[in-house]
Structures are given as structure tokens and as C-alpha cells.
């Protein structure tokens, strides 16, 4: 088996903020009934995390759980574990209407880090990035200029973005353009 490679092989750019492709992450699309105890238990087993509130991401000791829609979660786990976790979710939820699909290779992952990170994202996503409006643990699906993406803010004030793998180069160039060193807006930084 050959080594798996991410779309941009860890490209990075330093400008107003540091933009970095963070390599492959384990990601599982999990759909099912959030009210089901078995469903919640399976999520807990998979990630160590609880079901997040609407538009939030919850962190556990083995991964994280992001709220995608009222019947869909995105589980974040180690890339190497993703296939096994997907299989065990299927076992845990056998007999219950659900869907667990490994989508780790369908995605590209980025971080945007630095004092102007909020402004960089606010240039391309129609979202209120004011500090009081988007806080650590918030998770949002939206568009980044012309492509779909989701992002969240971690406790260390680092933004994480996921998008489809095929548009990784577009996303990287888009974020790097927005992070041009002389393009500071000066509203949030």
C-alpha cells in the first residue's frame, strides 16, 4: 500500500495570517436520528465527544463531532483510524436507520492562524466574523467565494476549514490572496 497524499501536500502561505494545508484528516459523515440513545452512544464511542449543539463542534479525547445539519454530523478522527471507526459505527448502529461513510479522502483541510485570521475569512465568506459573533467551538457551513466549505474556531483561536479535495488549490489560492500582507482591513486586528 502506498502512502496517502493530501491534495496540496502541506502547502502554506504566510501573510496577514498563516494559511496552511494541514494534510489528511479522518472524516466520517454520519447521518441518523440525533434523539436516539444508540446514536449518541456510537458517536461517543467513536470520538469521545458528545453530540454538539446546533452549529457547534464538540471535542472528545479521540476526535471531534461537528453539527452539519439536523440529521448529519461530521466526525473528525485520526486519518489512519477512519476506516475502522466507520466500520465500528456501522456495527454499533446496525438495526438503526443511519449512514456512516468515510469521506477523509474527499476533503482538503486548512488552518488560518494569526491576528488577521478573522478578516481573511470575512473577505470570502458571507459570515459575521466579529469576535462576539463567531467564538471558539462555533461551526459554520457556508461558501468561500465560489466553493462550499465549513469552518470552525478552536480554543487556540485557530480557524479550521474543510472543503472538497478537488478545489483545494482554489481554496488555498483564495485564502492566500485574502491574506496578502498589504490587505489588512483593520477591523478585527
Amino acid at each position: 500500500m502506498s502512502e496517502a497524499v493530501s491534495a496540496l501536500n502541506g502547502a502554506s502561505f504566510a501573510g496577514l495570517a498563516r494559511v496552511e494545508e494541514t494534510g489528511l484528516g479522518g472524516m466520517i459523515t454520519l447521518r441518523g436520528d440525533f434523539a436516539s440513545a444508540a446514536f449518541r452512544a456510537a458517536v461517543k464511542t467513536a470520538t469521545g465527544g458528545d453530540l454538539p449543539d446546533t452549529r457547534r463542534i464538540a471535542f472528545g479525547d479521540r476526535g471531534a463531532v461537528a453539527w452539519m445539519s439536523p440529521d448529519e454530523l461530521l466526525l473528525l478522527v485520526d486519518y489512519a483510524e477512519a476506516a475502522a471507526v466507520t466500520a465500528s459505527l456501522a456495527r454499533d448502529l446496525a438495526g438503526e436507520h443511519h449512514m456512516a461513510v468515510n469521506v477523509s479522502d474527499a476533503r482538503a483541510c486548512f488552518t488560518v492562524n494569526g491576528a488577521s485570521a478573522r478578516e481573511v475569512i470575512a473577505k470570502v465568506a458571507p459570515v459575521d466574523l466579529a469576535p462576539g459573533q463567531f467564538a471558539p467551538g462555533d461551526f459554520r457551513r457556508t461558501r468561500f467565494a465560489q466553493v462550499a466549505g465549513a469552518f470552525w474556531l478552536d480554543e487556540a483561536d485557530v480557524f479550521h476549514i474543510v472543503c472538497f479535495r478537488s478545489v483545494a488549490a482554489y481554496m488555498f489560492n483564495l485564502l492566500s490572496t485574502a491574506a496578502h500582507p498589504q490587505a489588512r482591513v483593520g477591523v478585527y486586528s
Binding site: A106, A130, V167, A168
Partner: protein, 1016 residues
């Protein structure tokens, strides 16, 4: 002459001299100048020529309302036409060129237009000429118009704009547009409630025109009050101030565009040139001030005739006077401020001509005390034509222009009163009311634009509301800020009165024509719209010709349709129209105000979307390999797919033919990763797919594949692909490359909005997998080699790919060459073919392994054109070629894919509508030219007889056409009336090249009709 004064100029820094050029001439200005003030300082009174008559024109205004001083700015890839000198900050090396003249600004041949042709160039000229004898248009008028028409010149089409641009999304409680004293006060009042406030000011400095007009606020000189207030606001966390940022437009649901000019004043600074702020504000305060109206008198466009307020701006802000002997003409008290300012600057005021019989108030007394002669009830009869003002004839206002007195003057300051800038209020539906006393339209606060919740979302502040006196302006602004904050959900606050200085002014009197009964000779020289060369006589002509609606008159005369959108001309033109129609002004109404307030750059609208991020390009995991191996790219939606792989010295056509032959004879590899892959899972998944596909999918056995068709509810074929049954409640549906997102959305739509109680989940895993079609007689060999199974068998632990283990239309999971893979034994080429899916992250490695292992089997990658030819040789349809949204499966002979057992599927009911069952529908056939040539793509077949328009009846069209290297001849598919019943008939296809192509109707399967090659 216009010159720089020794003193004055609050905005300029005389210690910093700046060099610039105008029409190649080197000139000097100071830091803080606008291009307009710097031109005046250099006695460059003539700044351009008018659009239609090429009349000499000078500066009229000092801000965004300037109609004349449009220049071409910059050179090469930074050249931009139609930039306003008044809103262009001067910088070192600025290069400006005047417009609309030939051969030079000083001497212009087009000026003869105004002398020889002006009587032909009246209102409606273009409409009238279109109707007159056609030859006249083509040979006389059009060449003439083409030579003289056009505003500025277009940038070089070979050059790309060298600058970059960006957008910025921003959300706030209260947005204040305008950073004059009213805007600042409104912002302060709003900010005091804790509201999040953004203030936009189009100019580089704060305070608007109050420092020029004078007065005190809260005991401070205006300039001190502004500095203090800006400092206070800057210190607040909840306030953001942006200068050089114009509120460009107000849109539905409180969406506002701000246009920030970051480097226009400092090119070379780096970073984006413009930033478009995409603002969503709870409430917007428009503190946009007022614009002075010109007076309508003959020769009011001669360079040196200027708005009185603008002349005062040039004096106070930039220390520039447009003339040495100035005549002031007015119908209100404000122009007296200009007379005072001129006098204080040492400029001679030769006369104040006040149209009002009773004259002015306190300010006029001051002017009289300064020894300046004031004449009441008088008017300008005419300013002598020329490249600048030399003589002004005055007469009685209430007359026809006789009994004139001629006065020597080199500049005229005119004021016809002030109109609030209502544009932003009106953009989204705010209504206006006619104010008799001020003779202007002002916002009607009871009819504000309303937002998503049905509540008003725009409040006006200061003179944008109507009042012009400082006390009233400040009171209105304070109240507006508090009102907006409250409407945005902040606590209500009582507004404390703001002490200001006060001047008692006499009422203005509307003067729409000077003199009131000016004769036709004067009216033909009296300009309303400077930029589009519309005169009083044009509007009157339009009225005589029956144009009663102001919107029609606007279009007929082009009044207000230039780049200044009639900022100076609209009210004056409207009043002339009302008078000509014998109607009241409010009954005639205004034209519609549309965004942007002032032109913004195309670059700002496009934002970051240019160059490599103009639009997203979707790349498969093997993109880089393709790119480095000669891929000629073809866009398929946002994807880029190799059309063919070019080898050195090869033409595209040769490459395609090589790929076709090699795939048929040896081994081809196709990157099929772009094909859509949707997982459909749940207890009701089978039932759901039976509704989506025309054929039966619920009965598909686990491990098997089936080709399926999807139709829209209209019955038309929408997508196709192979469906694989994965397990008891899971199916994998392949879609076309362009169909993945669309069909995923289609499935979600029906699940969410119609069959929401069905237990089905869908996931799009298109990008999780890299998929490779391994095609050709050696397909199995290369895979077995990868598995270390040369000669067959199950050695090496890899997947058993033998025909017994993996038959046609079956799939299997396992390992190939150490890669975790799923293999589908499906064929879109008619050859022995496997489609192998591996994880996207291993796609490139797997592809490389196949290329390496395939060498001994003659492997070659092939592109989409080869794919198309292979499928066409087999008579397989392609969505988008054989279908176009009007084709049903029955048209394509796909009856076998339409389940007769099912009661229902999407499209079934529609396919029984009378037109769908019409035997005359065109149906799919193969087409072979008699001479073996390739039929032109999209060609129509003609039959007997003609239609109602005398054109030959069409009986079919070509849907796919190729040169088949396999058969060494042209092959095609097409839809032909009664086609399947006409096998062997020859029909005619007239080509665009004038040739008629004759083609025989044949079976659409051209190659291996029995399918022996794929079944080995």
C-alpha cells in the same frame, strides 16, 4: 485666470510639492490637492469637451457631482477612462488626459458639431435618424456619430488591469453613510447606546462642507468640533470609521455596498486597489448632505461658470480661485457666503445678481457692507461663448433677456438652491416629498424603504433630510442616530439639544430659467445636463412631441443618463418639463435613483475573482500527472479533464486517433474520477431508486450493476449511469461528471420535500474515490500483473479478476496491486473494461502503478474525446449530446430501460402526454455520409416542402459526429423523424460551408454489434 492664492487652503500642505501631467504637460500641485484643484491652480480652466457638441468645458463642481472634468487616468495597464478630477486625489506622477476631443483639447474639429449640426442633434436625434431613409443612416449619420461619439476611450484590450481587488463582509447595528458633521453626530448618538456602528466617508477627510461654510458647534469652531468628535469615535470599540469609502448602494433587506479606495491616492503602495464592503446593517443612516443646483442661463456651460459652493470649496480647502473678477448669481442666501469668501481672499466680486426682487437676509447685508454691489430681481442673460468666461450680460429676471448690461468677469459663481442627496434613501424604495419652501425633493420619513421584517431600515440625517441651517442639521442628525440605534434594538435615548451658531437667511425663490421668459436663442444655449449635452430647448421639444412621463423624457433626451446620473440636472430638467407640460413639479415626479451613487470600478465588483481564482477549477488526484504528460484540457463543468494527451509533433486529431486505436487494440487508461458517485442507503432506498430511475433498481442483486436512466418530472432524460447494489439497503449510483452535484441535490429535494417519511440517506462520495477505467484487450492482464497473478489465478492475495469471479456488470471489493480497491466490470467503450475505484489520496499512486505495469501491454492514457468516439462507435448515448432537455428515453430507443412493472417513476406520467407519444417525434439513428466524411456537428436535415416562413422543413439533426479511427470514416448519431423506420434512406444535411452532406440512415451501433469484445 484661475490661480493659487498665497494663503488659505486648509487641506493642502504647501511644503509638499507634487508633480503631475495633464495632456503630457508637466504641472505642480500640493499634497492634499485633488486633480481638480491642482488643475485650477495651474490655470487649466478647460478640462474637457462635451460628449455631443464637443463644447469646451471646465470644472463646475468640487465633488462626486462634477459632470465635466472626466479624464483618462494612468497609463498602460493602469489606464482608466472617465475618472472625475474632483474625486481624484493628487499624487506624484499622476498622468491625466482630457477626453472627447480631436486633434487637441484646445482646438477641436468636433466642435463644428455644435455650430453646423446642433439643429439636427436635438432631443430624440437617434430615434429620428433610425427611421429616416436607411441609406442615410448607414452612409451619413452612422460614420459621423461613430467618429464623434463615445465617452473617453476604452483601455487597451490586450492589457490586463494590473491591480487587485477584494470584498469584505461586514455586519453592524447602525451604518452611517457620510462623515460630515451630521454623519459624525448621528454616529455619536448611535454609539452612545452601545450599538455597533460603521461610518463611511467617501472623501479622505472628515467633516464635509461645514468647515467651508463656517459656524460653531457646541462652542467649538466647526473644524475643532470635527477633530474632537472623530477622536472620540475612534476611541470607541463599537465604532469603525472608514474614510475614502463611499456608500455606493442600498439594496433589499438592508444590504449595502461600500466602495473603499485604498491605493488610488498612492499607487505603488501595494495591496488591493479597491475593497468592496458587503455590509448587512440593521439600520442605515444616510448623512449624504446636499448638492447645489446650477442656474439655467445661456452659456452656463462656459468654463469659469461654477457652482457657488464649489468655488468656496476651492478657495477654502485648496487656496485656489477660479477667477480674478467673479460675478455671483443666485436665488438664495448661501451664495453670499461665496461672495464673502472671495472678498476675504482678495478676489474682486464684480456683482451679485440676485434673482429675488426682495434680495437676501443677514448674509447679503454683510456683503453689501463689504462694498460689493448687489442687484436684486436681476438675472444673467448670457455668458459670452468661448473657452472661458470673459463677459456676462445681465438683465431683468422677469423678462425675455432684453435691455442687457454687459459686465467684464472671468468667472461666475451660480447657485440655484440646494437639493438633498436622496439617492441612497431612494435606491431601495424610499419615497420623496416636494418641499415648496426649499424647492426640492426631500425624503418622506413616513415612507422609508422597508426591510425583511417590513420595518423601515433607512433614516436620513442632516441636510440629506432637507434642512440646510447648521442648527437644524445637528438636531436632525442627533435624532437620526438615536432613532436608528433604537430601531436596531438598542435602548431609546432622549436627545440633548446641540448648541450651534445661527444665521438668519431669507427664503430662496425657485428660478428654473434665467431670465424667466428667455427666448429660444437663449434656451438653445442653456444647458441642463452638461455631460450629455441636454439643453432647456431639448426638454421643451420633448414635451411638445408628447413626452409627458419624466421617465420617457429622460430616455428621449438622455437627460440624467450620463455617468453623473443627473446629479446636477435632474431637478432643473424636471422643473422645465413641468413648466412645459403646465403641471406641478411633484405631479411630474422624479426618475428612479439606481445604485451605485457614483460609478465604481469593475474590478471592485469582481473582487478577488481573477487570474487563477477567477473561478474554481476542480482537479482530480491525477491532475498534475496529466498536465505533465501532454494533457490538452477540456472544461467539463468546473472540472478540467484531459481531452487528449499530446505527444511531441502530434496534432490533436492525430493524438485522439492514436488513443482510439490503442484502446481498441491494446490498453487504454481513463481518469474517470469525475464521474459522480452517490451512496443511497436505508430501508426505503430501493423504493426510492425505483422512483428516481426509469428502470427497476430494487431488484438488483447484491454484487451486480445495472445501467439506469433518470428523468425529470417533465419526462425528459436528465442523467444516466451505472448503479451497483452494495448490500441489502445500500446502492451506489454513478452519475455523469456534470451530474454529480445536480443529481445529489435532486435526490435530496425529493427526499426532503415529497417523501420525507421514507427512510433514506444519500451521501456524495464522488471525491472520496479516484476511479480509473482500464480498457482494452489487455485490461485484465495489466490488473493481474499488478496482483502478481500473471497467467490468472488468485495468487498474491489480490482480487480475482477472472471472468468467472467477476463477470460483466458485476463489482467486487478487494485489493489490486496492494491498493484497497473496488472493481466494476462495466464498459462504456465496448471493450473488456474495468473501472477501479481507490481512495483519492492513493489515486495518483494507483495510476502510476497501472502506467508502469501496463508498459509491456502497450498502455496509453486516453482523454474525453477518445471516450466519446469509443462510445459513439458502440451507439451509446451521451447526456448533453443526444439529450438537450427536450429528449425523452423513448426518442433514443431506450424502451428497454423503461420498467413496465412499475406503477410510477419520475417522468412516467409525463411520458404518456400526447406530444410525448406522437409517432412523429424525432428518433435516434446512426448516420453515415456517402463519401465517408464527417457530418458537421449540429447540422439539420432538410426534407420536402417549406414552412410558413418559406424555409425548408427540417426533419432531423446531428447530435454526435466524429471521425472513427477504428472504422476510418465519419460516424454520427442523430435524431430523425420516423428515423428507425427509414433505415437505408439517404437524407440531406446542408452545412454552414454551403455544401450539402448526404448521409444514410443506419443502425447507431457501428462497431461490434454483438458485444463480443466486452464479454471476454
Amino acid at each position: 485666470m484661475s490661480t493659487r492664492l498665497a494663503k488659505q487652503g486648509r487641506l493642502i500642505d504647501r511644503s509638499k510639492q507634487i508633480e503631475f501631467t495633464f495632456n503630457g504637460k508637466k504641472l505642480k500641485g500640493f499634497a492634499g490637492d485633488t486633480l481638480a484643484s491642482a488643475l485650477l491652480a495651474n490655470d487649466q480652466m478647460l478640462v474637457g469637451r462635451s460628449f455631443k457638441y464637443h463644447r469646451p468645458r471646465g470644472l463646475v463642481a468640487s465633488g462626486a457631482e462634477e459632470p465635466n472634468a472626466l479624464v483618462g487616468l494612468g497609463v498602460g495597464d493602469r489606464f482608466e477612462p472617465n475618472q472625475r478630477a474632483t474625486t481624484t486625489e493628487l499624487f506624484a506622477g499622476l498622468a491625466a488626459q482630457s477626453q472627447n476631443h480631436w486633434p487637441s483639447l484646445e482646438y477641436d474639429i468636433g466642435e463644428v458639431n455644435s455650430k453646423l449640426f446642433s439643429r439636427f442633434l436635438t432631443a430624440g436625434f437617434y430615434y429620428k435618424m433610425f427611421i429616416h431613409p436607411r441609406p442615410f443612416w448607414k452612409h451619413i449619420y452612422e460614420p459621423f456619430i461613430r467618429q464623434s461619439a463615445g465617452l473617453g476611450k476604452a483601455p487597451d484590450t490586450e492589457l490586463k488591469d494590473a491591480d487587485t481587488y477584494e470584498h469584505f463582509y461586514f455586519f453592524c447595528d447602525v451604518l452611517v453613510i457620510g462623515g460630515g458633521v451630521a454623519g459624525l453626530q448621528a454616529a455619536k448618538s448611535a454609539a452612545e447606546t452601545g450599538a455597533k456602528v460603521l461610518v463611511l466617508e467617501e472623501k479622505s477627510c472628515w467633516g464635509g462642507r461645514t468647515p467651508v461654510d463656517g459656524g460653531t458647534i457646541e462652542g467649538l469652531d466647526a473644524e475643532e468640533w470635527i477633530a474632537r468628535t472623530v477622536a472620540e469615535l475612534e476611541a470607541l470599540d463599537n465604532v469603525t470609521l472608514r474614510s475614502r469609502t463611499m456608500g455606493a448602494g442600498v439594496y433589499d433587506h438592508s444590504y449595502i455596498l461600500g466602495y473603499e479606495r485604498l491605493t488610488d491616492h498612492a499607487p505603488g503602495q501595494g495591496g488591493p486597489r479597491h475593497r468592496l464592503w458587503r455590509i448587512r446593517a440593521q439600520q442605515t443612516v444616510t448623512a449624504t448632505g446636499a448638492i447645489e443646483r446650477p442656474l439655467s442661463f445661456a452659456g452656463n456651460d462656459v468654463p469659469g461658470v461654477m457652482l457657488a459652493g464649489a468655488m468656496r470649496d476651492y478657495l477654502v480647502n485648496w487656496g485656489v480661485t477660479p477667477g480674478q473678477k467673479v460675478l455671483v448669481a443666485t436665488n438664495n442666501d448661501d451664495a453670499y457666503r461665496t461672495a464673502i469668501a472671495l472678498h476675504e481672499a482678495g478676489v474682486e466680486v464684480v456683482r451679485v445678481v440676485d434673482a429675488r426682487e426682495s434680495g437676501g437676509g443677514e448674509l447679503s447685508d454683510r456683503v453689501r457692507d463689504l462694498g460689493i454691489r448687489i442687484e436684486c430681481g436681476r438675472a444673467i442673460a448670457k455668458v459670452k461663448d468661448g473657452k472661458r468666461v470673459t463677459k456676462v450680460a445681465i438683465c431683468a429676471q422677469n423678462g425675455e433677456g432684453g435691455a442687457r448690461e454687459e459686465i467684464e468677469a472671468d468667472a461666475v459663481a451660480m447657485s440655484g438652491g440646494w437639493s438633498p442627496v436622496v439617492h441612497l434613501w431612494s435606491h431601495c424604495g424610499g419615497k420623496l416629498t416636494w418641499d415648496e419652501t426649499q424647492a426640492h425633493f426631500r425624503p418622506d420619513p413616513d415612507r422609508a424603504p422597508t426591510g425583511h421584517d417590513g420595518a423601515p431600515f433607512v433614516v436620513t440625517a442632516g441636510s440629506a433630510s432637507g434642512p440646510l441651517g447648521l442648527a437644524a442639521v445637528m438636531a436632525d442628525a442627533a435624532a437620526a442616530g438615536a432613532k436608528a440605534a433604537e430601531a436596531a434594538g438598542r435602548p431609546a435615548r432622549t436627545v440633548t439639544p446641540i448648541a450651534t451658531s445661527e444665521v438668519t437667511e431669507a427664503p430662496m425663490e425657485p428660478v428654473w430659467l434665467m431670465p424667466a421668459k428667455a427666448d429660444i436663442e437663449l434656451r438653445m444655449k442653456t444647458w441642463l445636463d452638461y455631460q450629455n449635452d441636454v439643453k432647456v430647448s431639448d426638454v421643451q421639444l420633448a414635451a411638445r412631441e408628447g413626452y409627458e412621463s419624466v421617465e420617457h423624457t429622460k430616455r428621449y433626451t438622455t437627460l440624467g443618463m450620463a455617468t453623473d446620473q443627473g446629479k446636477l440636472s435632474n431637478i432643473n430638467g424636471l422643473a422645465i418639463l413641468a413648466d412645459a407640460l403646465d403641471a406641478e413639479i411633484p405631479q411630474v415626479g422624479t426618475t428612479t435613483f439606481r445604485p451605485p451613487y457614483h460609478p465604481i470600478s469593475m474590478g471592485a465588483i469582481g473582487g478577488e475573482a481573477r487570474g487563477e481564482i477567477f473561478q474554481p477549477l476542480r482537479k482530480t488526484p491525477m491532475y498534475d500527472w496529466h498536465d505533465s504528460h501532454g494533457a490538452h484540457w477540456e472544461p467539463v463543468g468546473h472540472w478540467r479533464r484531459p481531452y487528449a494527451y499530446l505527444r511531441s509533433g502530434e496534432s490533436l486529431h492525430e493524438a485522439v486517433n492514436r488513443e482510439v486505436k490503442n484502446t481498441r487494440e491494446a490498453l487504454g487508461l481513463l481518469d474517470a474520477s469525475t464521474l459522480g458517485k452517490l451512496i443511497v442507503k436505508g430501508p426505503d432506498a430501493g423504493r426510492f431508486l425505483d422512483m428516481l430511475y426509469t428502470n427497476m433498481m430494487s431488484t438488483l442483486k447484491i454484487g451486480k450493476c445495472r445501467y439506469g436512466l433518470m428523468c425529470s418530472e417533465n419526462g425528459f432524460l436528465s442523467d444516466d449511469g451505472v448503479v451497483a447494489r452494495i448490500d441489502e439497503d445500500t446502492w451506489l449510483c454513478h452519475t455523469t461528471t456534470g451530474g454529480a452535484d445536480r443529481i445529489h441535490a435532486h435526490m435530496e429535494e425529493w427526499l426532503q420535500t415529497e417523501w420525507w417519511d421514507w427512510k433514506v440517506y444519500v451521501a456524495n462520495v464522488t471525491e472520496q474515490l479516484a476511479q480509473v477505467a482500464v480498457v482494452g484487450p489487455n485490461a485484465r492482464r495489466v490488473l493481474e500483473k499488478l496482483n502478481g497473478q500473471a497467467g490468472g489465478g488468485q495468487a498474491g492475495g489480490g482480487m480475482d479478476l477472472s471472468p468467472e469471479a467477476l463477470g460483466f456488470m458485476e463489482w467486487q471489493d478487494g485489493e489490486i496491486g496492494g491498493f484497497k480497491a473496488r472493481a466494476y466490470r462495466i464498459s462504456f467503450s465496448g471493450e473488456l473494461s474495468y473501472e477501479i475505484a481507490v481512495s483519492a489520496s492513493e489515486g495518483q499512486a494507483f495510476w502510476s502503478a497501472l502506467i508502469e505495469a501496463g508498459r509491456e501491454f502497450g498502455v496509453m492514457p486516453y482523454g474525453t474525446e477518445c471516450l466519446h468516439i469509443l462510445r459513439a462507435e458502440k451507439g451509446f448515448i451521451m447526456i448533453g449530446d443526444e439529450t438537450d432537455g427536450t429528449v425523452i428515453p423513448q426518442d433514443l430507443g431506450l424502451h428497454w430501460a423503461l420498467s413496465k412493472k412499475k406503477d410510477d417513476y419520475l417522468g412516467k406520467r409525463a411520458q404518456s402526454r400526447s406530444h410525448m407519444t406522437d409517432p412523429d417525434r424525432w428518433q435516434l439513428v446512426g448516420l453515415e455520409t456517402l463519401d465517408g466524411s464527417v457530418l458537421p456537428d449540429g447540422a439539420y436535415a432538410v426534407g420536402n416542402g417549406v414552412n410558413a416562413n418559406g424555409q425548408k422543413n427540417t426533419i432531423g439533426r446531428v447530435t454526435s459526429t466524429y471521425y472513427s479511427a477504428t472504422l476510418d470514416r465519419g460516424i454520427a448519431m442523430g435524431l430523425v423523424k420516423h428515423g428507425p423506420k427509414r433505415m437505408g434512406e439517404v437524407i440531406d444535411f446542408p452545412g454552414l460551408d454551403g455544401k450539402t452532406y448526404q448521409a444514410r440512415i443506419v443502425d447507431p451501433v457501428f462497431y461490434d454489434k454483438d458485444g463480443e469484445k466486452q464479454n471476454v
